[in-house]
């Protein structure tokens, strides 16, 4: 892993309209690296959904991205309330988002399913009252 490019982002949970800035930054960097557009899109959409979730559900968190010629690996960690039933949370259409979040166009229950859909590796672990960690990779 020593040759990986490592990027870290602290995501604030205070301002919903800022959600997505890390994904935008990552997208720009991956473009400069000459990575294929479809690969970039899959990685950054997955990260964008994760960022939205950090803001909606966990008052922010930390994102670490590892990039090497083989893959883009993204680790998303928060100290939020945790997810009680992960299989339920993974089902399309299930959401605990507030009405306020829905009026902004999110909270359709597609976040976690989209992350899994667009990545080649996806793993989620969560403890109630401790937080949630997602590890996902897109192969280049």
């Amino acid at each position: 892993m020593s040759s990986d490019i490592v990027l870290t982002y602290d995501i604030s949970g205070e301002e919903f309209s800022l959600a997505g800035e890390a994904s935008v930054d990552l997208k720009g960097r991956l473009k400069l690296m000459g990575i294929p557009a479809a690969t970039i899109r899959r990685a950054t959409i997955a990260l964008y959904e994760a960022e939205i979730n950090l803001v909606i559900h966990a008052s922010g968190g930390q994102i670490t991205v590892f990039i090497n010629p083989q893959y883009i690996k993204m680790k998303v960690k928060d100290d939020g309330p945790g997810i009680e039933d992960i299989p339920l949370a993974m089902s399309e259409g299930y959401s605990t988002a507030t009405d306020e979040v829905r009026t902004l166009g999110f909270g359709a229950g597609m976040g976690l399913p989209n992350m899994k859909k667009y990545t080649d590796e996806f793993d989620i672990s969560s403890s109630i009252g401790v937080g949630t960690e997602i590890n996902m990779s897109v192969y280049i």
Partner: protein, 117 residues
Amino acid sequence: MKIDDIAKILDGEILTQNTDLQREVYAACGSDMMSDVLAYVKNQAVLLTGLNNLMVIRTAQMMDMLCVVFVRGKKPNQTIIDMADENEITVITTDKTMFAACGLLYGHGLREASDEQ
């Protein structure tokens, strides 16, 4: 379908200043739920929405979309328009409803795209 044609068909007003209106759009998606939009990867698409906030442009940017149409006469603020301009996303506003706008574009041959993967 060219972006310029979309504006004409919808009798819309183009709010961005610096984007290329001759670019070709191959697919369309109409939704107020950005998570639904994110569920469908499309190339060179146009997004029609009744939602009016910054996240619409950011979502379009993530999806590499070329154009966003705000329906029912919604006019995004200058911050939103500037952000779209910076990212080469054309912003159009139309008085048409979502149903009518989608129907008009469909009638002129534009279709929703299938997953590219």
